[in-house]
Symmetry: C2
Amino acid sequence: MAEASRPTIADVARRAGVSKGLVSFALNGKPGVSPASRERILEAARELGWTPSVRARSLSVGRSFACGLVIGRSPDVIAADPFFPSFIAGLEDVFSTSGLVLVLAAVTPGRHEEQTYRDLAHDKRVDGVVLTDLRVGDSRIDVVEELGLSAVTLGVPDVDSPFSSVSVDDGAGIRHAVEHLADLGHREIAHVAGPETMLHATRRARAFVEAARAHGMRARVVTTDFSAAEGAAATRALLEGDDPPTAIVYSNDHMAVAGLGIAQRLGLTVPRDLSITGFDDTDLGHHLHPALTSVATDARAWGAVAARTLLDALAGAPPTHLDLDEPTLVIRESTGAAPRRPRRSRGSTA
Amino acid sequence: MAEASRPTIADVARRAGVSKGLVSFALNGKPGVSPASRERILEAARELGWTPSVRARSLSVGRSFACGLVIGRSPDVIAADPFFPSFIAGLEDVFSTSGLVLVLAAVTPGRHEEQTYRDLAHDKRVDGVVLTDLRVGDSRIDVVEELGLSAVTLGVPDVDSPFSSVSVDDGAGIRHAVEHLADLGHREIAHVAGPETMLHATRRARAFVEAARAHGMRARVVTTDFSAAEGAAATRALLEGDDPPTAIVYSNDHMAVAGLGIAQRLGLTVPRDLSITGFDDTDLGHHLHPALTSVATDARAWGAVAARTLLDALAGAPPTHLDLDEPTLVIRESTGAAPRRPRRSRGSTA
DNA sequence: CATCGCGCCTAAACCGGTTTAGCCTGCCTC
DNA sequence: GAGGCAGGCTAAACCGGTTTAGGCGCGATG
């Protein structure tokens, strides 16, 4: 009973006194329908509360009206990353108003990432995909192209790509952080970076090195896998080594928090003895003691623009590139004036 | 060229020298196919690399081979919650091996949550949904039933429900935390709870009160919206009020971290002056200083079991209820022996 | 005046499966 | 030996749209 089976296009045609085909034409704004008929058809559709069946449409036009997002990282890493939820919300802001649906695929144990894309494409479960976390020489570009899917990349790939891209200049964010530290008098700084295989990690690292050089600072870079554990380890190595830096720029908040924990364990007070900056501006960072100075990007806006760009691509638009607003540096409590004399080693304060 | 249009059921039928219908029967294990024909058909399908088109199947059987997850919270809150990414990974573990796809819908501004379910159901974009974050008198149960969708709920609703449910006894987790604090000599404890409208929040709060009473402890409960900001505010109110507790049990890690920040700001040392426990066992918690004692649930397993249960429901199984393993308490550094004498107020240490 | 072209519309094919109705064939039964 | 029945199979309808081929009427054109 509850299943008051929906009206079909045939019902509408009958009611409007025309053929199914004409209803279809009218609905899709195709030419060859007189204004009078068009009006009558739309009226009939309205009265019946008819909307075309996505499934039927799907079969005849060969599209699925869905887009995919494949999450390649392990859930632990994602869990820590505020980027995805916000980004996904941004995608949804656009998709949900366009009749598209977002299909989420996670790389599961025993299934290679590439296979996940193939699975999605095989049955055309999705018309297009969003490629995040671009890697150096990312093979997914070729795979997705070969599979005949549309796509949009987050950031510009370092390989030839037929797809549109949407970028945020995270390098600028890092530059802001370095400049801020320079202003505070730091001369010996370090960057805890993400893996060298990830494009945005290397972009941030490069920006760090260049900005530091521009300000005549001594700079080091340590690479990690973006996890809190490696962020902590990198921090410990930096602080316990010779010539410990007076400030550390982290490539994400997660590592910054872990780094803060290590610094505190080593008896340092932040920001008196060590300044710290994060990246992502996690909500949690506001509430730490000290509150984290961090680079803020608008992930939700990024998602919305990426979705819109993908929609355009599906509609046949040629590849474009968009740059979003520069990230901003949110200055809180974890950065402060450089200590008078850098600590030579633990405890040997001048 | 790349589009080497897939073989269809007609190709297989031709190759096997039978009718389309028989191929369909053979594929779906229906009776009325001789063993010889069945073998020939499957062989032909294998040679052609044919798999049935989901879209075509979708249209004829009236299912979409997709399940939905509607995320009702704001992205900020989700971002902080490690639950969803892990849970989603668990869902995917099962869906991806069953030919189902996970559709994620986020409640977007201007679209009521209920409408999101209606939209998904209207076109049967999904066959079933996973209902998380149950609320008191949750109206979604009725809505989803009325829409004719299958569903599985996380936890047992407090209203009549025709759906299967999968539960984790988070009350037990809270009890473990309270017992741990009792063992450490705490007599005056508090719970920073989630909103009273959310079933799991109230379940945890109730477990807290009962466990505290069972151990003869004095207990208070403060409710929040689960956000770090309110967790911080609640903590401040508790610590600055009369009779501050010597231990606080938080309903999630996020608030616990914020609470830790506040305690530190107030000049307290954790766990010397105040013990703190979280809930979720976030990765980040390990790396704080002090590392957070927290209740750990296996969100990924929960997701996998929920997915399997939903699959069963789609197959027509009667509603069931499953209980997962009890959460465990992971003891780290944020809990310690109760101070000799509770602080009367800030600074007036005995 | 015959023809062409165009606007409007319909019938039917098509997408690729599932499912129903019904047709043989051969065996069993009475 | 006729009737009944079951197994194995096919043809065709069906799901609900889109799209193509073509028909009809009418004004413009040569």
